[in-house]
Amino acid sequence: MNEKQAPILVVDDEPEMCWIMENIIRRTGFTCRTATSASEAISLTKSNQFGMAFLDAKLPDIDGLDLARKLRKTNAHLPIVIVSGYFYQDDPTIEGVLREGLIAAFVGKPFDHDEIVSVITRHARR
C-alpha cells in the first residue's frame, strides 16, 4: 500500500453508507475519509488533499451537485462521483453534469461493488 496515496472522500448522511464505501475502498488499497454533511466535507478538503470524492446526491445541508461545484472551485482536478438513489443512470440532470465535466461518473444505488472498484481504478488520482 502506497503511503503517499491521497485518500478518497466519501460524503453520505447515512453512516451505514459510509461504512459500505469504507469497506469497498479499503479493499482497493486506498484510504478513506468520511463526512455526513456538505459542510463537514468542505472543511475536510481545506486541510486534506483527496484523490477522489464520492458524493451522495441528497445531503442534509446542500445538494451533492452543489457540493461538487464548490469542491471544483478549489480543486479543479478532483474526480467527483455521484452515488445516489435519487437519480437514475440516464437522468437528464446526470447526463448534463457528466457532459459538463462536473462529475466523472454516476453510480446508482444499490450497486455492485465491482462498479465502485472500477470507478476508483479508472478515476482515482494516485
Binding site: 447515512e14 451505514e16 453508507m17 461504512w19 459500505i20 469497506n23 469497498i24 441528497k58 442534509p60 445541508d61 446542500i62 445516489s84 438513489g85 435519487y86 446508482g108 444505488k109 444499490p110 450497486f111 455492485d112 461493488h113
Partner: protein
C-alpha cells in the same frame, strides 16, 4: 180624509215594493223565471235575458221549450220537475245544469225550483238559476293545482316528507318509499327519529323542538335506516310548515340520497392520494434505495471468503435492519394508498394519525431540506371521524407546505387540545399566498401550480372533509414569509360523549 190618505199610502207602498222587488230581481246575479202551470213564462229578470241574449218581447208569454234549448230541458227533465213542484207544492233540490246559448261560451248553472203560491193556490213555479261557471272553473283549477303539487312531490327523486310538530310522519312520498323500503302507510305510524341511527336521534329531536324559533331551514346529514336493515347517507333540510296565520303546523323534511355523491367523493379522494404519492415518489424511491443498498452491499461482503466472523455477523445484522426499514416504508405507503371503502366514523387518535402522515412525507421533506418540527400534547387527542379522510387532509396540508418551500425551510406541526376541540396548526416558511389569492384557495380547481403539477383539488377536498367532520379550516399567510393553516375539530374523549 184620513181613510183616503191611508189608502193612498197603502197603494204607494205596494207600488214602491213592486219597484223595489223588480229592481232587486234585476240586480241579483241569478237568473229568475216565473213559470205558470202551462209552462209559459210569466216573468224573466234582466240577468236571464242578458245571459240568454233575449228580449222581454220574445220571452214573456212564450213556452219554456221555446226559450230553453230542448236538449237541456229533456236532459235535465226540467219540465217534469216543474210539474212536480207545482203539484206537490214543494221546492226541488238544486242541481247543476250546463247551458249554451247561441254565440256565448258554455255556462254552468246551479238551479232550484220553488213553488209560487198566491192566496193558498199554487200558481206556478220560480226557476232560479245561479251561474256557477266561474266557481266550477276555479275549483277545477284548485284540483288541478293540487294534483300538480301532488305529482311534483310524488315524482321527486328526493325524499319529501311532512311530520306533525312532534315529528310523527304525516306524508311520505314515492322516493321515500323506494329508498327506505317502507310504504307510506307503514311510515305514518312512526316518528321521524325511528328512521335515524341512535347517535343522530338527539340532534334531530333538538332540531324539531326548536324549528319554529329558527329563521332559516335546518340542515343535517344523517343516514336513513331502511327496511332491509341497512342505512343510506341522506342530506336533510327541515323547514317549518306554517299556516296562513304563521302558526307552525308541522315540519317539512326534504332529503337527498348521497350514495352516488359519496361514491364519487371516494373516487376523488383515491385519485388525490395517488397524486400525492406521485409527488412523493422521488423521496420514497430515495428512501427505499438506501436500505436496499445496505442489504445488497452486506450480501456482497458476505460472499467474500476472507471476512472475519465478527464482520460477517455485522453484515447479517445490517441486512436484517435494512429489510425492516424498507418494509416499514412500504407498510406506510400501503396503508396510505389502500382505498378506503367506508365513510363510517370511528374514534380516531389524531396524534398518531398525524405522526404516521408525517412519516410518509419525511422522505419528500428530507430531499428538499425541509426540517419538520412537531409538538403534541401529552394526553391522547381523540376525534370522531373517518381516519383515511382525516389523513388526507393532513397529507394535503403537509405537501402544500413542502411545495411552498422549494429551497428548504421549516414545516411546523403543532397539535393542541382542550375539552371541546382539537387544533392543528401547520406552519411553513415558504413563499406565502398573496392577499389577492387567499380568498380562492379553498375553491375547487383553483391552483397556482404549473399545469400537470397540481390538480387544484387538494385544499377544496380538505375543506369538504373538515366540514364533514364538523370542523373548520382557516388559512393565514404573509407573502414571502409563509403560511399557517389551522384545522379545528370537535374533541372526543375515549369515554364517549364529548
Amino acid at each position: 180624509m184620513e181613510d183616503k190618505t191611508l189608502k193612498a199610502t197603502g197603494r204607494d207602498l205596494s207600488g214602491r215594493y213592486e219597484q223595489l222587488y223588480a229592481m232587486l230581481l234585476d240586480a241579483i246575479p241569478s237568473s229568475v223565471l216565473l213559470i205558470d202551470q202551462n209552462m209559459c213564462i210569466v216573468s224573466a229578470n234582466r240577468n236571464f235575458l242578458e245571459k240568454g241574449r233575449r228580449t222581454l218581447a220574445n220571452t214573456i208569454g212564450y213556452r219554456l221549450e221555446e226559450v230553453f234549448p230542448t236538449v237541456i230541458l229533456d236532459q235535465m227533465d226540467i219540465t217534469k220537475r216543474i210539474h212536480q213542484v207545482i203539484e206537490k207544492n214543494q221546492p226541488a233540490k238544486g242541481e247543476r245544469m250546463t247551458y249554451r246559448a247561441p254565440g256565448v261560451p258554455i255556462r254552468i248553472y246551479y238551479y232550484s225550483i220553488l213553488p209560487f203560491t198566491w192566496q193558498g193556490q199554487v200558481e206556478g213555479a220560480v226557476l232560479l238559476m245561479d251561474d256557477v261557471t266561474e266557481q266550477v272553473r276555479l275549483s277545477e283549477e284548485v284540483r288541478q293545482v293540487e294534483r300538480h303539487l301532488a305529482s311534483i312531490v310524488e315524482s321527486a327523486s328526493d325524499l319529501v316528507l311532512s311530520t306533525d310538530k312532534k315529528g310523527r310522519i304525516l306524508t311520505w312520498n314515492a322516493a321515500a318509499e323506494r329508498l327506505s323500503g317502507y310504504l307510506a302507510e307503514e311510515a305514518r305510524e312512526h316518528h321521524f327519529t325511528d328512521f335515524c341511527t341512535d347517535e343522530d336521534r338527539k340532534d334531530i329531536r333538538n332540531i324539531f323542538s326548536r324549528i319554529d324559533t329558527r329563521k332559516h331551514a335546518q340542515m343535517k346529514e344523517c343516514p336513513l335506516r331502511t327496511a332491509k336493515g341497512t342505512s343510506i347517507p341522506v342530506s336533510w333540510v327541515f323547514s317549518p310548515m306554517k299556516d296562513s296565520s304563521n302558526q307552525t303546523l308541522g315540519i317539512v323534511a326534504v332529503g337527498r340520497d348521497l350514495t352516488e355523491q359519496r361514491k364519487l367523493e371516494m373516487e376523488l379522494h383515491q385519485s388525490q392520494k395517488f397524486a400525492a404519492l406521485g409527488v412523493m415518489a422521488g423521496g420514497i424511491a430515495h428512501e427505499i434505495r438506501n436500505p436496499l443498498t445496505i442489504c445488497s452491499s452486506s450480501a456482497q461482503f458476505l460472499m467474500e471468503e476472507d471476512g472475519t466472523p465478527e464482520f460477517r455477523l455485522e453484515c447479517v445484522e445490517k441486512i436484517h435492519k435494512g429489510i425492516q426499514r424498507t418494509s416499514a416504508i412500504i407498510e406506510n405507503l400501503l396503508k396510505y394508498s389502500h382505498p378506503s371503502t367506508t365513510t363510517r366514523t370511528t374514534l380516531v387518535n389524531l396524534a398518531s394519525l398525524i405522526r404516521e402522515t408525517m412519516t410518509l412525507v419525511t422522505y419528500h421533506a428530507k430531499i428538499l431540506k425541509i426540517e419538520m418540527i412537531s409538538s403534541f400534547p401529552k394526553e391522547p387527542v381523540m376525534v370522531q371521524g373517518v381516519a383515511t379522510l382525516l389523513q388526507q387532509v393532513f397529507m394535503n396540508l403537509f405537501l402544500n407546505a413542502i411545495n411552498a418551500m422549494p429551497d428548504g425551510g421549516r414545516l411546523g406541526i403543532d397539535v393542541k387540545t382542550d375539552r371541546s376541540e382539537v387544533r392543528v396548526q401547520v406552519t411553513d416558511t415558504g413563499c406565502g399566498i398573496s392577499p389577492r389569492e387567499i380568498g380562492k384557495i379553498f375553491d375547487p380547481f383553483y391552483t397556482t401550480s404549473i399545469v400537470g403539477q397540481g390538480t387544484g383539488l387538494g385544499l377544496s377536498l380538505c375543506y369538504s372533509i373538515v366540514k364533514q367532520h364538523r370542523g373548520t379550516i382557516e388559512a393565514e399567510s404573509v407573502e414571502g414569509r409563509g403560511s399557517v393553516f389551522t384545522v379545528t375539530l370537535p374533541a372526543r374523549f375515549s369515554g364517549g360523549e364529548p
